[in-house]
Symmetry: C2
């Protein structure tokens, strides 16, 4: 079966790599940091000691990295994929990064005859483990079609949205809506609590109406039960909204609500709580209002 | 069958009254303004020329009015229900008003031995016509139980959330979440459009993930199709968020996002578009960013 290179073995990358191994792919893995690859090797992966070891043998290379600087370095940096990848290779960057950087990476790779997809995901660690990620893709149609068997293994939905950058722009759209909605719920339930209402009774009364959402159903019970275990960490959400603001600056798009919510995320991170789930946005409101949203 | 007084025959009140008539209630109706009651009289209602004509014969009186001042005037004003209603009567105010006023009305009525429920609804004109409103109730348990047959006729869900005011507080919680979410979607899809993406493709890619909501599913198609027919009018939404801010001031609750979204609603209303659906929040963003969210 096809040889695939996989770079980035963190919380998301490792379970994704495992799913590719289970599907029968020949995987050659590389970690920038010292994340142990033993579990993957046991399951049949080969460990590479450099990016070049991967590009030598793999026509398709997946990257799953924390943010734009890492994607830039690994794909188009001094020792990056671009230096040694064969013409006609396909690079799929599944990291959530600044879409402007995705466009830049795509252009640089294209100049060497290497195809590129930006394909960030939504669904978190759970989605990565279950192979139920939502994959948002930017790039050429032919490249997208080449990647479909891989996307089918990793996700439950995959959409080609436009040229390079479109995948990461769609991810930013997603993150704007999700994060502002968590803040909206926090603001609303602080008012409910200050008014002496039971959060759970209010939740029951509104959840099937227009206020209903995935965020309400997943985050409100966490808030009421004071369970802020991630899930999706404040610091990663902060990175995403920082990328939103960077993209907004590049495109001259005013983002009044996003900018405020980013400041809230910074405040939580600054208090040393960047590792909590993003439902802990409510903690900012609780500090501000001196009240706790619980029964 | 039970005689019920019904005061307020507007967009919401009229179809609600029709549903009560259909269910067999004896209805005596009164309109503060010159809204014609012919349709209701044809269906069997009796028209009263004053509030006192209603209180004389009805043990239960429903009010469905635009905002706090009208509820105050009709229920506890100089010629209001309180002046002539019998001891043991039940007043159900289904208007969406400032919960602080609901508490005040409840106290005044209680001092005369009249029971009171604040029972605002969510679901709009369509929900009123279909009898599928979500009813959020504040008041005494005994009063709530007395009103259940009426709530069953008018709505598909009804919850007693707490003492007087709790119904309208829950409604404000609902409106905070709904309105901020519309603004979030507007902000997000402006960015998508500025990035050259198809709004519909992005919608398809994100709707089943964490960004998914009733608001996204109902408002995004309206935005893309440039259909801003209400639905729920900007001016009514503005009134609700003004009530949120008033309640927030009374309870000392900081509401940073709600306050910004209220300013957006004011701007749209000020441009003469207060009669459009609240999905037209996107128009504010479009003006600001000089781009239209359509395919």
């Amino acid at each position: 079966m096809q040889k695939i290179g996989f770079i980035g073995l963190g919380i998301m990358g490792k379970p994704m790599a495992i799913n590719l191994l289970k599907a029968g792919y020949n995987l050659i893995v590389f970690s920038r940091t010292s994340i142990p690859a033993e579990e993957l090797i046991e399951k049949g992966a080969t460990k590479a000691l450099s990016v070049a070891e991967i590009t030598k043998v793999c026509g398709t290379i997946i990257t799953m990295l924390p943010d734009s600087p890492q994607s830039e370095e690994i794909i188009i940096g001094e020792n990056g994929i671009i230096q040694t990848a064969k013409k006609g290779a396909l690079v799929i960057d599944m990291s959530s990064i600044n879409p402007i950087i995705s466009i830049k990476i795509g252009e640089k790779l294209a100049s060497k005859g290497i195809d590129f997809l930006d394909a960030p995901v939504s669904g978190g660690e759970q989605g990565a483990i279950e192979g139920s990620l939502a994959i948002m893709v930017g790039g050429r149609k032919e490249a997208f079609e080449r990647a479909i068997p891989i996307f089918k293994t990793l996700g439950s939905s995959y959409f080609l949205i436009g040229e390079n950058g479109a995948g990461n722009f769609a991810k930013l759209v997603n993150q704007i809506i999700v994060t502002i909605n968590i803040a909206a719920i926090s603001e609303a339930f602080i008012l409910a609590k200050k008014a002496g209402l039971s959060p759970t009774l209010v939740y029951n009364a509104i959840k099937n109406g227009y206020a209903g959402s995935k965020v309400l159903d997943s985050k409100l019970p966490m808030i009421v039960n004071r369970d802020f275990k991630p899930g999706f960490k404040i610091d990663l959400n902060k990175k995403d909204l920082q990328n939103v603001m960077n993209a907004g600056s590049a495109l001259n798009v005013p983002l009044p609500l996003t900018s405020i919510v980013l400041e809230i995320l910074k405040s939580i991170s600054c208090a040393g709580n960047g590792n909590l789930d993003n439902s802990s946005i409510v903690n900012f409101y609780e500090d501000m209002s001196k009240i706790i949203v619980k029964e």
